[in-house]
Symmetry: C2
Subunit: 246 residues, 2 copies
């Protein structure tokens, strides 16, 4: 794990860019100036997003800084084929086909499956490699939470015993393999749903919520489309992680 | 409005019993000892429950004290036919029939409609009379929130402009009139749903949530049956009211 740059943000958060082999990542920490090493190790939140957004996206960075203010270290990577990582010509074509089909209101299940299924398969081991490296840092302790991309989170929750709680977003389109794996998920869950999310059929998200084996699972739904999540859900997610990671 | 007794509880909350004509009620306030009148008027939460429970039920009282600790005055009444108020022989019979049908897994829609429809019609004016009296007290200001029984809350939300926010519970069985009135509800809403509530069909609660005209409506769902609501939902409801009543 090589740290390539660090930046002190105006709220005091320390944003460190790193690489881990081919994987580029960002680690946000409280980074108390002058007292590095003296603070207790922070619990970690892995923050993932699949929607073509890079880890540097302003909304993701804002979420990360919000969690750091609550006492967490937060990490995000651009996994293979995600964010700013190179995409294969086939991936580019699949994304273009999917966008076109969504806009035209055509069936997208097969297109979605062929794009996102392999993305999850490639991303999961990179996130686990990143988790190994992060947990070896002195400023990061456990336990570990996961926040964001539902399909990847399901795969990690069933393969990675160090993940103690997960907050998922949307969940209307989840590859077949992860819809099945959901029945093995037992960690505490918060599923956040936008009621009129144009890209995530509501009933499928409700069915997914029903499928998780977790006993302590909570669904939050609000009005509006994919990007319309109200600000107070950030607070609620913070309290969810506080209950399980602190 | 006649206050008939007052009791200082061990958490400092003042619980005052009152009558208003035939209506028995309880008002919980911070009731700062020795400084009555000096504190700013508190926003008010009307706390209603239809499930045969009296206003003195321990769970209701605990919810009331929790809200008082957040800075609210809370009032509950036993409306006509509810709680400890006398029930007609027909009402007793309808409740017995409903219980039997529920246990036997038989259809309950008609029984439910014939019991709860009239209960709402009788309760709503009593709650409005109570609200008039409460708002004339110097220790109570506005705005006003509503918490609990969904069907009554819908009726009040569409007929009582002083109600500024409402937290509803369950909502699987709501009389036909209130399912229609739901389309006129525009105040901010929090609908709290138990995913496996044996007496409240889940899909109907989801349909009701969908029907409200409110733009700022939030659904929270948790696992388990009717009485299994997790403790943190009390905190979440408190924050919902804080956003809209403070």
């Amino acid at each position: 794990m090589h740290f390539t740059s660090e930046q002190r943000l105006d709220d005091g958060v320390l944003a460190c860019e790193f690489t881990l082999g081919e994987i580029p990542g960002t680690l946000w920490t409280p980074g108390s100036a002058g007292s590095a090493g003296s603070a207790a190790p922070a619990p970690l939140i892995l923050m993932a997003h699949n929607n073509g957004l890079p880890k540097s996206d302003a909304r993701l960075a804002a979420r990360a800084r919000h969690s750091v203010a609550r006492g967490y270290a937060v990490a995000s990577i651009d996994a293979a084929g995600c964010g700013d990582r190179p995409r294969s010509a086939a991936d580019e074509q699949a994304r273009a086909d999917l966008r076109r089909a969504l806009q035209a209101g055509e069936p997208v299940d097969e297109l979605f499956e062929s794009l996102v299924g392999p993305l999850v398969d490639k991303a999961a081991p990179e996130w686990r490699t990143t988790l190994d490296a992060l947990l070896s840092l002195p400023e990061i302790g456990g336990p570990v939470g996961y926040s964001g991309w539902t399909a990847l989170g399901i795969r990690l929750a069933v393969t990675e015993p160090r993940i103690a709680a997960a907050g998922f977003f949307a969940g209307g389109f989840v590859p077949h393999a992860q819809r099945e794996e959901a029945r093995q998920v037992t960690v505490p869950l918060l599923l956040l749903l936008q009621w009129d999310d144009e890209g995530n059929p509501r009933q499928r998200a409700l069915d997914l919520f029903d499928a998780f084996a977790t006993k302590e699972k909570t669904l939050h739904a609000n009005m509006g489309g994919h990007t319309g999540t109200p600000w107070f859900e950030g607070e609620d997610a913070g309290r969810f992680f506080d209950r399980h990671l602190k």
